[in-house]
């Protein structure tokens, strides 16, 4: 029989307001095996933890039940507490009477009754607890960063700086991500390329960093400390070692009319191309969908002009298998497709552009060389209307996103300001619902756009945009403060499109068994306290894959993710989860049922000699669980026909005892 101590937490008024904590600790004191029962204001505080430690020593407790918040919150805290008092840390059970009781029920009598029953179930379980010791597993001292935008670059640089190897996998031919397409950055207006490209070069030159550009993650196996990842290096049809990036081929290629993704289709590129001048790695790539040589076997001009002999039309996709200790997801975002927004005539008029397109139209390396010209006729626009919240903050049923995309208010202020600065003769209107500018120097920045640059900020929304035959765009909008409807003849309309996670994130999350929210953003382990870790151990989150973020936030989060990775890789061994499967060898008949359902291949079989009751010996085939590989899901325990397989910490008898306790009322 265990000597059990029960500790009921008030959690200030969070629990005590709806649960009569005295009644709970009094009722549980009479349960079999309970020798001590008390309640306290904050069990997780230092004095609360000391109370537990003292009680363990004073009453020689062998088991502890804490009725408090969710075990997902403080289980680790209390495990340390009982261990500090000399008890095995797995002789602890937590009854969740906050999230699953006091916070959801209003009636005090009802909530108190439920809390007592939950406490009884935890007591019944702890009666059957046994001391557990976690095993250890080795750590591969290398990290994988998926995504080579500013988030991935910063994470990789920080990890490499601590002396660990890092691989970056980027699906585009070059690293750099969305930031390479941005012209200037708010609120300081320094040029994005000037601050980003040195970092890209640092990545290329750092001997700890290995860049897999034009590559994708194919398969992820393993667990924290030892992931095995298959990376597909897509065929570039150019030898990256021989290619010098001179660009000769990209000038001679006869296939000229291919929409240039880097400039969002606002101009064209060749079938062999380097996305932009500062690309890293600066290696040409052949687009197999448009190359005449690859499609029809006719042409071969690039191979003729290449003095380095780098062109290789027979190159194939290559699969590389690498081992990692930690994986950082930095898959970033994309603006949503605007083709559905007929009211803004995005698909009907070339002069209605998204903000990212506008960014290219004002960039010196963009299709117009930095001169702002209308895409339709190349004329200078005199009236520009910016529309905010296109697809953001929508109801869940509609075509948009329910969240605020966070970055649009600031970049629109930037666009409006820069337009007015370069072209003071241009009238700039910004239609906003709210201007959201919480950030250092952000609101000052927006106010400057209004006060110094004379941008017309109008509270209201644009209802429709009608392209007229004379090339003008008729914008119909409401001015809520003046209570009137406006009709503006504009030359250009710029839509601040909502941003969404990259499409590659969902299949990646499935590969990593990392959880996502309903918008396909990766979920963090704790919204406040563990913002850069995924609930899946060894998976970390960097940048906009976790939620909309601007560059300063992304860089900060990237550094935080890197520090978590460094903390993990600095360890030589990881303590595992001791709640793993183990077979009763006397009951096991070696049928292989468990082996088939194990997702980790943790179960194997050995022939073992047994001394039978009749004093003969027999060789029997029995299951063996690899403790370093087993993750403790319990699939095998149910598959086992003889009931030989059980899960430590969640054994059949423990769960049965909980069921019994819950049903006994």
């Amino acid at each position: 029989m265990q000597r059990i101590g029960v500790f009921v937490c008030w959690c200030g008024s969070n629990i005590a307001a709806t649960v009569d904590v005295n009644a709970v600790s009094e009722a549980l004191a009479h349960e079999p095996g309970v020798v001590f029962s008390t309640n306290y204001q904050y069990m997780c505080s230092e004095s609360g933890q000391n109370l537990i430690k003292d009680a363990i020593k004073e009453h020689q407790l062998t088991g502890v039940v804490i009725c408090s918040c969710s075990p997902r919150m403080h289980e680790a805290t209390f495990r340390k507490t009982v261990a500090a008092a000399g008890l095995n840390s797995y002789m602890l059970e937590i009854a969740n009477i906050r999230e699953q009781c006091s916070w959801i029920h209003k009636d005090k009598a009802e909530a108190t009754e439920k809390a007592i029953i939950l406490g009884r179930a935890a007591i019944a379980k702890v009666q059957l607890n046994a001391p557990l010791t976690p095993g250890t597993s080795p750590v591969t001292k290398r990290a994988l960063v998926i995504g080579g935008g500013i988030a991935g670059i910063q994470t990789a640089l920080d990890i490499a700086d601590a002396g660990f190897e890092v691989d970056i996998v980027e699906k585009q031919p070059t690293i750099g991500g969305k930031m390479t397409q941005i012209d200037k950055t708010f609120p300081t207006l320094d040029c994005a390329a000037c601050i980003l490209t040195p970092k890209m070069v640092d990545c290329a030159q750092n001997e700890k960093i290995n860049i897999f550009a034009y590559s994708e993650v194919e398969e992820v196996k393993g667990f924290v400390g030892s992931f095995t990842v298959k990376i597909k290096k897509k065929a570039r049809y150019v030898d990256p070692v021989k290619c010098t990036g001179c660009g000769e081929c990209t000038e001679k290629c006869p296939m000229k009319k291919i929409p240039n993704e880097f400039n969002l289709g606002l101009d064209t590129r060749r079938a062999i191309y380097i996305p932009f001048a500062q690309a890293v790695p600066k290696v040409a790539t052949i687009d197999p969908d448009h190359c005449n040589m690859l499609k029809n076997g006719k042409c071969g001009l690039c191979a003729k002009v290449c003095s380095a002999g780098a062109i290789d039309y027979k190159q194939k996709d290559e699969i590389v298998e690498r081992e990692y200790g930690a994986i950082v997801v930095a898959t970033g975002y994309n603006p949503i497709k605007l083709d559905d927004y007929d009211e803004y005539a995005y698909a009907q008029s070339k002069d209605v552009v998204s903000s990212l397109e506008f960014e290219r139209l004002t960039n010196a390396a963009g299709p117009t060389g930095g001169t702002l010209l209308r895409p339709s006729d190349g004329k200078h626009p005199h009236t520009i209307v910016f529309v905010q919240c296109v697809g953001s903050r929508c109801s869940n049923e509609g075509k948009g996103k329910s969240y605020c995309s966070k970055i649009c208010c600031m970049y629109t202020a930037k666009h409006a300001m820069l337009t007015r600065e370069k072209y003071p003769d241009t009238d700039v209107y910004v239609f906003y619902i709210d201007v959201r500018s919480p950030g250092k120097n952000y609101d000052e920045f927006y106010r400057r756009a209004v006060e110094e640059y004379g941008v017309h900020y109008i509270k209201g929304m644009v209802g429709k945009v009608v392209p007229r035959s004379d090339g003008k765009l008729l914008v119909q909008a409401s001015d809520l403060l003046a209570n009137e409807q406006l009709h503006i003849e504009a030359d250009m309309v710029v839509l601040a499109a909502a941003i969404e996670p990259d499409k590659s994130a969902r299949p990646l999350a499935t590969m990593l068994t990392a959880s996502m929210d309903t918008n396909d953003f990766f979920t963090e382990a704790h919204a406040k306290l563990r913002p850069v870790e995924s609930p899946t151990a060894g998976i970390f989150l960097s940048g906009a894959c976790q939620g909309p973020k601007d560059i300063p936030d992304t860089v900060a989060q990237a550094g935080a993710a890197a520090s978590k990775v460094i903390g993990l890789l600095a360890k030589d061994k990881l303590t595992g989860n001791p709640c793993i499967a183990h077979p009763d060898e006397w009951m096991c008949n070696g049928c292989s049922s468990c082996e088939k359902v194990c997702p980790y291949g943790a179960i194997s079989y050995v022939d073992k000699e047994f001394r039978m009751p009749d004093r003969t010996t027999a060789i029997r085939r029995v299951a063996v669980v690899n403790e370093a590989v087993c993750q403790g899901c319990g699939a095998c325990t149910v598959a086992c026909p003889s009931g030989a397989m059980d899960l430590k910490g969640f054994s059949n008898s423990q769960i049965m005892a909980e069921v019994d306790a819950l049903c006994k009322m």
């Binding site: 699953q100 916070w103 029920h105 179930a121 068994t513 899901c633 049903c663």
Partner: protein, 145 residues
């Protein structure tokens, strides 16, 4: 027969640690009400739930049992919820054959982000079980106090 209005069903909910238990916590954090009749047992994965546990619950007088796990494809252990789904399909059809109404058993996928879905599911389930009244078919009267 007990009065339907005062009848309080006993509901056992098995929730996987990674998705549904976290979803239940989120329902709590967002103060989304559901009846106190629902009592949750934490298991590492929905595939840990042995059909024996569910039979035991009914034997001990539970009026309904619900199993919650991660959405298909999102299982923390990759495939656990698929096993759970198959096992429960078989078990529930057997229970139906034994006279335990289909409404008393349920499998639901609730992610860690779906606190509202968790509360709504529990409200619906409790309502359905309350309508059916007490479960007597499998109850072992020796277990009654």
């Amino acid at each position: 027969m007990q009065d339907v209005k005062t009848f309080k069903p006993k509901i056992v909910a098995f929730c996987c640690n990674w998705c549904s238990y976290a979803g239940a916590d989120l329902a709590g954090t967002n103060r989304l009400n559901y009846p106190a009749d629902v009592k949750i047992i934490r298991v590492p994965c929905s595939c840990r739930v042995n059909p024996m546990f569910i039979l035991r619950a009914f034997q001990r007088g539970a009026d309904g049992v619900i199993l919650c796990g991660c959405h298909p494809g999102d299982c923390h252990y990759t495939t656990g919820n698929y096993y759970a789904r198959r096992r429960m399909t078989l078990l529930f059809s057997m229970l139906d054959y034994l006279g335990i109404e289909k409404e008393r058993t349920r499998v639901e996928w609730v992610s860690a982000a779906e606190g509202a879905k968790f509360a709504q599911t529990m409200n619906e389930f409790v309502e359905a079980v309350t309508k059916l009244g007490e479960n007597k078919r499998l109850e072992d009267l020796r277990c009654k106090k």
